[in-house]
């Protein structure tokens, strides 16, 4: 199978969340959030109460996928930044490897400021994500070959039963 599933542990999740908070504040944004390229929301920060973040995440990924397809037709590798301007709110979308960083902002901020702050955040987020991917690789590798890394908790999913699944559907 092409890529292993994304697995996020507490520590990295906190780092990501902290970085999104910092960006949210420094860019004067309304909302900042991170989405997996497959459309799954990783985390969102800011004025999210009246926002359907699940749908936004899926559409963001669709958007990136569609423009990525356009890029390939033009012989580009990807369009790494997308910007949508509205009457009130604007959306700035940037690719960070396998994930997508989204910033929603209004007249309290500006495209210039958002761009500047996003650039810095992309660097930091890339590093954290790198670490997560290494951990996933290590987790998939046969035991003993992982080497230096810290032990991850034993997966709770090794004991799933058919009964657990039946209960999902009540």
């Amino acid at each position: 199978m092409p890529d292993p599933g994304l697995i996020m542990y507490e520590e990295e999740f906190k780092q990501i969340d902290a970085e999104l908070r910092r960006l949210h504040q420094q860019a004067n944004a309304k909302v900042t959030f991170l989405v997996d390229k497959n459309g799954q929301l990783i985390t969102a920060v800011g004025e999210t109460e009246n926002l359907d973040t699940t749908s936004l995440a899926s559409l963001t990924a669709g958007n990136i996928a569609a423009t990525g397809g356009m890029a390939k037709l033009l012989g580009e590798k990807d369009f790494s930044i997308l910007f949508h301007e509205g009457e009130r709110d604007n959306i700035h979308i940037s690719l960070v490897g396998r994930v997508i960083l989204v910033v929603i902002f209004d007249q309290r901020s500006s495209l210039g400021l958002v761009r500047l702050r996003v650039k810095k955040s992309v660097e930091i987020l890339s590093q954290i994500l790198q670490k997560i991917l290494q951990q996933v690789d290590r987790a998939k590798a046969p035991s003993g070959s992982g080497g230096s890394g810290k032990e991850q908790p034993k997966s709770p999913f090794s004991e799933i039963s058919e009964d657990d699944i039946d209960k999902l559907f009540g």
Partner: protein, 195 residues
């Protein structure tokens, strides 16, 4: 590609409903949406043309319950069936955890079914997936129509490997949740295997 978050204690999985145009993929999602209680579902999004043909995808997020203390979320997607939307179909298959192939049981749609099944296999292959190793279920839809061919015949044409299959009448519901449950089960078992 499932996404497991130990911090928020969530598992996210992506299910794709595939099949020829007008076989009933969108109808499956609409029925699931209608019958799921409001706490368990998000908004259903349909990126459709003015004549309600799927243009890019339909999307329905479901959170049915917990397993081992983790909230299990399924993200259901449909693809546009028309042949010329192949680029979109490829995009939607990215990161898929499980596939439901919805076949149209009507005799006159047999060729479209076969073509779509071959298209599914090919599009998965391009991304390094092997359909035979993915969680996979087939649904024979439109069983209510007079020109529906026998299940034996459908299996012969579309199901040489003998994967689980269900007969359905999507607008009324028979077969819809049976199909969903089976693909969900296979996907979760896959996560168990990887654990």
């Amino acid at each position: 590609m499932s996404f497991i978050n130990y911090s928020s204690r969530e598992i996210n999985c992506k299910l794709v409903f595939y099949g020829p145009g007008l076989c009933g993929k969108t109808t499956n999602l609409q029925y699931i949406y209608k019958k799921t209680n409001p706490d368990s579902k998000g908004k259903m999004i349909s990126l459709a043309t003015e004549s309600e043909r799927t243009l890019f995808f339909d999307f329905l997020p479901l959170a049915l319950g917990n397993i081992k203390g983790f909230k299990v979320r399924f993200h259901l997607y449909t693809v546009p069936g028309q042949v010329f939307y192949d680029a979109s179909r490829k995009l939607i298959l990215k990161g898929v955890d499980g596939v439901v192939f919805v076949a149209d049981s009507q005799a006159e749609r047999m060729e479209s079914n076969i073509e779509s099944m071959e298209n599914l296999r090919k599009n998965l292959q391009e991304q390094g997936y092997n359909l035979d190793q993915l969680p996979f279920v087939i649904q024979y839809n439109k069983r209510d129509l007079p020109s529906a061919v026998s299940v034996d015949e459908l299996n012969q044409a579309l199901n040489p490997k003998g994967v689980p299959f269900f007969e359905a009448v999507a607008p009324q519901g028979p077969g819809v949740f049976e199909t969903l449950k089976e693909i969900a089960k296979q996907v979760i078992m896959q996560i168990k295997k990887g654990a």
